[in-house]
């Protein structure tokens, strides 16, 4: 009833076409990212655990770096992605961008958590303590709190379009705050070593150590793409459930 009415309105149809196109394209990209991701992660893990040399000081506990660093990098870049998607959603009123931001949050939070927990596990044998109030640990913890805030706000808001705008504002404010947090805690207390990877400098480790790390980082990015797209597709389906294309898609299966 409703459906037929909508079909008569070309404008509706075109506005709905965007999520539809997105659903289709992610459907094509998903196998690509998930297979590459799985392959890279398996390769990276085997390489990291079996073939990468141990560190001259830390011995084999060094291998934790292959989880710790990718997850820490990912936690930060997912936050940036989320905030930027939120900004796009606000400025251009793009529904898909809102949904991307929504899909990012839990994945990012779990990456921040993973970075923290592996940091703690790594800290025990190297620093001699499970947890130290060190700059980077603290700023990662705050990043996790920011994720929690975004997710809690999303859960409390109810209506998706409103929630999307509210969380976008919050994550943008958090984005401005991230460098401030970073510098504040860095000046406040310092024990952690500087960043392992940076774009401008040559890595401070030999090739046989950082190559598997690179593989792991890429694998983690593919994993993020996979998890995010899966969430995004669910979100598209549930928000567009009153449209014809979802009906066709679902009944065809």
């Amino acid at each position: 009833m409703n459906m037929q009415k909508k079909q008569l309105m070309p404008k509706w149809f075109y506005q709905m076409a965007s999520p539809k196109w997105c659903y289709k394209i992610t459907g094509k990209l998903l196998p690509l990212f998930s297979c590459t991701g799985l392959a890279l992660l398996l390769l990276g893990t085997v390489w990291a655990l079996l073939y990468a040399p141990e560190d001259y000081q830390q011995g084999n506990s060094f291998r934790i770096i292959y989880i710790h660093v990718p997850s820490a990098i990912l936690a930060q870049s997912i936050y940036v992605t989320m905030a930027l998607a939120g900004a796009v959603g606000i400025i251009w009123k793009m529904k898909i961008a809102d949904m991307v931001a929504y899909a990012c949050a839990p994945v990012g939070a779990s990456m921040a958590f993973l970075a923290l927990i592996t940091g703690a596990i790594w800290g025990k044998p190297t620093w001699g303590s499970w947890w130290v109030w060190d700059a980077r640990l603290t700023s990662m913890l705050i990043l996790l709190f920011l994720y929690f805030g975004v997710m809690a706000l999303y859960a409390a808001m109810g209506k998706p379009s409103r929630a999307a705008r509210a969380t976008a504002i919050l994550s943008l404010v958090g984005l401005v705050n991230i460098p401030i947090i970073k510098y504040s805690v860095e000046w406040w207390n310092t024990l952690h070593q500087p960043a392992t990877f940076s774009l401008t400098e040559k890595p401070a480790m030999p090739v046989q150590m950082w190559l598997p790390l690179l593989v792991m980082v890429l694998g983690f990015y593919c994993f993020f793409a996979t998890a995010m797209m899966l969430r995004l597709r669910n979100e598209i389906l549930s928000r567009e459930k009153r449209t014809n294309w979802v009906k066709e898609l679902v009944t065809k299966v």
Binding site: P53, E54, D55, Y56, Q57, Q58, G59, S61, F62, I65, P125, T126, W127, G128, S129, V132, E186, W187, W188, N189, T190, L191, Q193, P194, A195, T196, A204, M205, P206, Q208, M209
Partner: protein, 161 residues
């Protein structure tokens, strides 16, 4: 100019002014060296810069050959150095794996009346350089560290001469 445009211009100027003030103050703070004293070096402690009778952090290298372990307890005594001044540290407890001579550590504790640092926690500070043990051995034989710089123990010898 319409009042609306004028308002908008005022707003933009206000925001720019705020940004400039923020950057200026930030640069001033960096210039003043905010937050550099996260831990005191043995030199600073010898100069009396560190407050007595409160818990502070002391950082430096563990001097080669200075670690004395008490055979009957977990007590460890070692000398923390910045190659200018030395500070004796006493600590009871399990040391981290990375604790070794020539390694950077940060100790948390209090100075006692004799000028000995009573540590309650010793943390090993590890750098961002990683390398396989064979490479490290080779480098050590050549007398350079991963950056190609002279190893600390050479520097330490210079100081002791």
């Amino acid at each position: 100019m319409t009042p609306k445009r004028k308002n908008r211009l005022m707003l933009v100027l206000f925001v720019i002014l705020g940004g400039v003030v923020a950057v200026g103050l930030g640069l001033y703070a960096i210039d003043k060296g905010v937050g550099i004293s996260v831990f005191y070096s043995p030199q600073q402690i010898a100069d009396g810069e560190a407050p007595a009778a409160t818990r502070i952090r002391a950082g430096g290298m563990v001097q080669q050959g200075s670690v004395k372990r008490d055979p009957n307890s977990l007590q460890v005594e070692f000398v923390l150095t910045d190659f200018k001044q030395n500070l004796t540290v006493i600590y009871k407890g399990i040391l981290p794996d990375l604790f070794r001579e020539g390694q950077g550590v940060v100790a948390q504790g209090q100075l006692d009346k004799q000028g000995v640092f009573q540590a309650v926690e010793v943390l090993a500070k590890h750098d961002e350089k990683y390398m396989p043990p064979e490479v490290a051995d080779a480098l050590e034989k050549a007398g350079v560290d991963a950056d190609g710089q002279q190893l600390e123990n050479n520097a330490g010898q210079e100081v002791s001469q």
